[in-house]
């Protein structure tokens, strides 16, 4: 069993709002943050989850080389819920060398590159001189930006396993803390809207023309979104407060099936969930709620339903919150981890939005409406292209699970 960690601080900015309070309010009101796509010059018949106010964010003058939508989104989120202050306090407590940085992203600041390719030198074909590859395009750019923002000197890395990226950061950080290489970790995910994902998922015919409808009989694709979500992980005290949110375990697996389609029987997803329970020493019956990957594509929801049913039957309440937030891709795992933390602390099981008619072939216990109940243990699923699966188990308080 892996020793539990505590999410001592956490925050999230998504199309639901900036910080925990508006996110909780939106969940309580069953309000979606999705809107018709008007992003940049994109002309696609789809809905997206766009974070308000990103364009107005300004980076510190010494870190201008990192200026791009992804860094701005990261900075916006770090300033919410006094998360930046919590990071500085952790650095003061443990030392800059002993605080790790693990962020998930799928496209980083590639929007900057996409725009730069419209501005190639007509004679030489060169990129504009101000284009900064390492500061904006590279997957590590957002990590480097946050590391320099806080003067961190410990291990720092981007985990880039597509849509499970920022779930896997929890697992990676947990290993490094367990191995006593660090005492705390900033984990999270930052993924911002760009043309590659909007046109790419459109090319794969995986975007819906309407707000996505996870687990609906006529679901027809996802709604792309952006988000930044962060948590500060530290060793859990022996007797955590009743309101403490703990990370109990992580499970990872590979589908070994197809680059962009899940295995139809959900075997890889099932293995990830099993491994998370085993890592935490928790039985399936102890899980009170499952936040599904639930993208709203026909294949994902069908495979995930099979996997969940195989392990949990049709009993455990589940929902996808992507009808509210959209699919934040590389930030989805961390965003949904924060939603799980909010659910635990608020005793709220968020219902899934936009489902009109249940799919009779998906037999899990899907919640269409919010429910109130004391939650002790919740599971969050994230599955990515390349068959990269990760399930995270979170608990509340001293008797979180067992």
């Amino acid at each position: 069993m892996t020793p539990a960690l505590q999410l001592t601080h956490f925050t999230a900015s998504s199309c639901l709002g900036q910080g925990i309070e508006p996110t909780l309010a939106a969940l309580q009101q069953a309000r979606s943050g999705l809107s018709p796509c008007r992003f940049e010059s994109v002309e696609l018949p789809t809905w997206i989850g766009q974070v308000a106010g990103v364009d107005a964010v300004r980076l510190p003058s010494s870190l201008q080389r990192f200026d791009c939508r992804n860094s701005r989104l990261a900075l916006l989120a770090l300033g919410q819920d006094r998360f930046d202050q919590a990071v500085r306090a952790a650095i003061a407590r443990y030392g800059a060398r002993r605080v790790g940085l693990y962020l998930g992203t799928s496209t980083s600041g590639i929007l900057t590159t996409e725009i730069a390719y419209r501005q190639l030198d007509p004679v030489t074909g060169a990129l504009p001189p101000e284009f900064d590859y390492a500061g904006t395009h590279n997957s590590f750019s957002v990590v480097d930006f946050v590391a320099q923002l806080f003067d961190l000197a410990g291990p720092a890395v981007a985990v880039c396993t597509a849509c499970s990226s920022s779930a896997k950061v929890f697992a990676a950080a947990q290993r490094m803390i367990a191995a006593d290489q660090i005492d705390a970790a900033i984990v999270g995910g930052v993924d911002s809207l760009c043309l590659t994902t909007l046109y790419g998922f459109h090319a794969l015919q995986l975007t819906s023309r309407q707000p996505c409808r996870p687990f609906d009989r006529a679901r027809d694709g996802l709604s792309i979104a952006e988000a930044a979500a962060f948590a500060l992980l530290e060793r859990a005290p022996q007797h955590p407060d009743d309101n403490a949110v703990l990370m109990l375990g992580a499970g990872e697996s590979s589908d070994a099936y197809h680059m962009s389609s899940p295995q139809p029987d959900g075997a890889g997803a099932l293995e990830a969930m099993r491994a998370a329970l085993a890592a935490a020493g928790v039985s399936a019956g102890a899980v009170d709620y499952i936040n599904l990957h639930g993208t709203g594509t026909p294949s994902n929801d069908s495979a995930e339903s099979r996997a969940v049913t195989a392990l949990f039957g049709d009993v455990t309440p589940c929902s996808s919150t992507k009808g509210a937030t959209g699919h934040a891709l590389g930030a989805a795992g961390a965003l949904e981890a924060v939603i799980c933390a909010i659910a635990l602390q608020s005793s709220l099981l968020p219902g899934g939005l936009h489902r009109r008619e249940p799919d009779p072939t998906l037999t899990l216990n899907y919640l269409d409406r919010n429910q109130g109940a004391t939650l002790r243990c919740v599971l969050s699923n994230s599955f990515g292209f390349g068959g990269a699966n990760c399930s995270l188990l979170f608990g509340r308080g001293a008797r979180a699970d067992r």
Binding site: A126, F140, A153, R175, T196, L204, S254
Partner: protein, 265 residues
């Protein structure tokens, strides 16, 4: 503070003028002069034909060095967790997408989009070898080798018996090349395990250091390689394996932080 350890049992290697670990050994231990001919990347025999066609140079590089490390150890890929580390993924693929998005009408090939994920090599590897163990794909820019070593060793410390670490990069096409001047493809795979093994190449212990300077290669050609391709930052470690020389090598990691590796043969 406890330190991270690993037993290295085999290596796969490919790069400019390097056609595999046995070939590289002679160069790294000074038996033969280094010549930096362009990297020859063998197509991944383990991939189904459709996937083999779709995969780009960087993916073939990763799969080639991984397969070589497995072959040397006689290991079964199906049971090995994997850590993939690359400074920048598939630049050719990214370039084609950006060109398509700058044109009208904007149309991306579905395959290009699928291959654009940083974990594409991990996905192809798991399909090629039927491996359903956990995999991760890391990027720490130029520090990706160090990040991969730390992650692989942390996995061993957390209970994994063996881990396959693959570090790889390929050159970007223009105009990106001017901004990230990686000259050629380079890949290194290390098969790591927790338990002692009689047929090991070495046992290593990792430690972060802010005082020790990175170990340079004495051969000027190899030193240029180490400096120009981020994945080649592992060369000083590979040299001590090839020479079976105990001691400490220091790999370039993050700004102001190096990875000191105590090598015991």
């Amino acid at each position: 503070m406890s330190r991270l350890n690993a037993v290295i049992t085999s290596v796969g290697l490919l790069g400019p003028g390097i056609r595999g670990w046995e070939d590289a050994r002679e160069v790294l231990n000074g038996q033969r002069a280094y010549g930096g001919q362009r990297t020859v990347i063998p197509p991944a025999a383990a991939l189904p034909p459709a996937e083999r066609r779709r995969a780009g140079r960087v993916i073939h590089t990763a799969l080639a060095v991984g397969a070589e490390a497995l072959a040397h150890a006689g290991a079964d890929a199906g049971t090995l967790p994997m850590v993939f580390a690359s400074s920048g993924g598939d630049g050719d693929n990214c370039h084609e997408i950006c060109v398509a998005l700058a044109a009208e009408p904007r149309q991306i090939s579905p395959t290009r989009f699928t291959n654009s994920v940083h974990n594409a090599a991990a996905g192809y590897w798991s399909i090629a070898h039927g491996c359903r163990e956990a995999s991760t794909a890391l990027c720490a820019g130029d520090a990706s080798v160090g990040a991969g070593l730390l992650e692989a060793c942390a996995q061993l410390a957390s209970g994994a018996g063996r881990v396959l670490l693959l570090c790889y990069d390929a050159d970007y096409p223009p105009p990106l090349r001017a901004k990230q001047p990686v000259p050629d493809a380079f890949g290194a795979a290390l098969l790591l395990q927790r338990a002692p093994a009689a047929d090991r190449l070495a046992t290593i212990t990792l430690e972060l250091s802010d005082t020790l300077p990175a170990t340079a290669m004495s051969d000027t050609g190899l030193e240029a390689l180490r400096r120009m391709i981020p994945a080649a930052r592992c060369l000083p470690l590979l040299q001590s394996l090839a020479r079976q020389r105990a001691g400490t090598v220091v790999l370039d990691y993050l700004r102001g932080v190096q990875l000191a590796i105590e090598v015991r043969t």
